[in-house]
């Protein structure tokens, strides 16, 4: 019984990370029809920036705040000076650009920080354990889930209760139409792209103490995040929430129940969803 509780909580923590990474990815795809291959590299950069900031300041909370802000700036620059320039050439060029960018970031990380894994050590109450549902559980994993829940709620409020949110949701459906109603769509693109990068960076920081900070961490989460947005429906935020939860738990219980082919489980899920509902759980039929 306590095993199940522990694996369920593990699954929740990973689901939280997946949601932070995939929410930006799915919104950017919905609006710009660009699958951003560099998105997971932003996540990795977030973790490395946190590692670096922690070395300088020794304060995890500061790293948690500043690293996503650095990604916010990087995201804005990438959109403004790279992606927007190739936009007129079509989606294939945009895709290739993000692909190349992912390689550049991955190699830059190796050049600067080496190929060895680094650890982000947390201290204070985050490093403690608590008793929950009869099991002893690390506070930090609950913290990861709490951060993603809080951000998910915040994003929901922005998207469904503000004018900016209305504009973003409309642009996901039909961005040229939004533009011809007098809204500066390129600016909205830049905003969503950079906020997406910042969220991904935040996921990277929070993942740091949980997993190890190494050059392979981008590739590891990229595939899972793609599966999340395909299963949830490309462009659907609600779909990203549900699919993150399903895939987080599937990963976690897969390791417990079918350790030999736990990695194959999420691909099997994706295959089943694509056969039954090709547009994803919450996706729009084309």
């Amino acid at each position: 019984m306590s095993d199940i509780a522990i694996f369920f909580l593990h699954g929740l923590a990973y689901a939280g990370l997946l949601f932070l990474v995939s929410s930006g990815l799915t919104l950017v795809f919905g609006m710009m029809s660009v699958l951003n291959f560099a998105h997971a590299s932003f996540y990795m950069l977030g973790a490395y920036f946190a590692y670096w900031l922690l070395q300088i300041t020794g304060n995890f909370w500061l790293a948690l705040l500043i690293s996503p802000l650095m990604l916010l700036v990087i995201g804005a620059l990438v959109e403004r000076f790279l992606l927007r320039k190739v936009h007129v050439l079509g989606h294939v060029h945009e895709l290739l650009l993000t692909f190349g960018l992912a390689y550049i970031i991955d190699e830059a990380v190796k050049l600067i920080w080496g190929t060895n894994p680094h650890a982000i050590i947390i201290s204070g109450f985050l490093a403690h354990t608590v008793n929950i549902m009869g099991v002893t559980y690390p506070v930090y994993r609950l913290f990861v889930f709490g951060v993603s829940m809080a951000l998910g709620l915040f994003m929901w409020l922005i998207l469904f209760k503000t004018r900016i949110g209305i504009i973003v949701r409309a642009a996901v459906e039909d961005s040229p139409m939004v533009g011809s109603l007098g809204i500066n769509v390129p600016l909205v693109f830049m905003g969503v792209f950079s906020v997406g990068a910042a969220l991904s960076g935040l996921a990277g920081v929070t993942a740091g103490p949980l997993l190890s900070v190494d050059p392979g961490m981008a590739g590891a989460i990229l595939v899972d995040a793609f599966v999340v947005i395909v299963v949830g429906g490309m462009g659907s935020l609600g779909g990203a929430v549900l699919a993150s939860f399903i895939i987080g738990e599937l990963q976690s219980f897969g390791v417990l129940l079918f350790p030999d082919f736990s990695l194959a489980l999420i691909y099997m899920l994706m295959a089943v969803v694509l056969v039954i509902r090709p547009e994803g759980l919450f996706g729009e039929k084309q």
């Binding site: 459906e173 039909d174 109603l181 007098g182 809204i183 500066n184």
Partner: protein, 236 residues
């Protein structure tokens, strides 16, 4: 003169769609653009709003050059666009669809500005369904919503592309009647329409297009009298 188009050329890739289009609209007019499928009527509207930027020529709106501007800038100058196929935002509520259309008030007119309340007074059906998703509306209601959404930006000029397409005759009539009411309030309207007979009751000026050029410009009486032109360019 609110709109003056001169020698406008627009391409889709290599195909030369608009081949020197000229068009003039006076303040407060309702003008109808006629012609067979594929002669460039929609492209003319899309060239004005900037969705398909013209390659050559001039589009003057209140003396301001629109050619080369982004659609959002053109819209902010006071041009509204009601597209073909009723591109409402299906996942957004009726009210949210309207809120997208809000622009900073255009101060050059004395008209009472449109807002959600005045819209719901005029379009009572939309008011009743303000919290429903746009995708759940009927075709006629969706058409009303695209027009209302544009009105929320208080435009001086509205470009309307085939507003009655695919609607039942009675619904089509009410859509045209509504456009007449909007025109009476002082808004200039340029409308693309297949059915010139329906438009005769409504529009003052008519243009006919063929192969990317204007081949006729005149009043309703002149259009009725020009039987040869109608046979050649409109009737099947």
């Amino acid at each position: 003169m609110i709109l003056e188009i001169k020698d406008l050329h627009t391409y889709y890739g290599a195909s030369h769609i608009l081949q020197s289009v000229d068009l003039v609209l006076d303040q407060g007019e309702l003008v109808c653009l006629l012609g067979r499928n594929g002669v460039g009527k929609s492209t003319t509207l899309k060239s004005i709003i900037g969705l398909v930027p013209p390659r050559k020529g001039s589009v003057l709106f209140n003396g301001i050059q629109l050619a080369g501007l982004d659609p959002y800038r053109i819209a902010r100058l006071g041009v509204g666009f009601v597209p073909e196929e009723r591109r409402i935002f299906k996942g957004l509520t009726v009210l949210e669809n309207l809120q997208i259309g809000i622009k900073k008030a255009h101060s050059q007119t004395d008209r009472e500005p449109w807002n959600a309340e005045t819209i719901f007074e005029m379009f009572t059906k939309l008011g009743e369904r303000s919290l429903q998703k746009g995708g759940h509306l009927s075709g006629g209601e969706q058409q009303m919503l695209t027009v209302a959404r544009t009105l929320m930006g208080n435009p001086e000029l509205i470009l309307v592309d085939e507003p009655t397409e695919g609607l039942a005759p009675l619904v089509a009539d009410s859509v045209l009647k509504m456009l007449g009411t909007i025109s009476d309030s002082g808004v200039t309207i340029l409308m693309v329409e297949q059915n010139y007979k329906a438009a005769l009751k409504l529009a003052r000026g008519f243009y006919i297009m063929s192969k990317g050029q204007m081949v006729f410009h005149g009043t309703g009486e002149e259009l009725v009298a020009a039987e040869k032109i109608r046979q050649k360019y409109l009737e099947v």
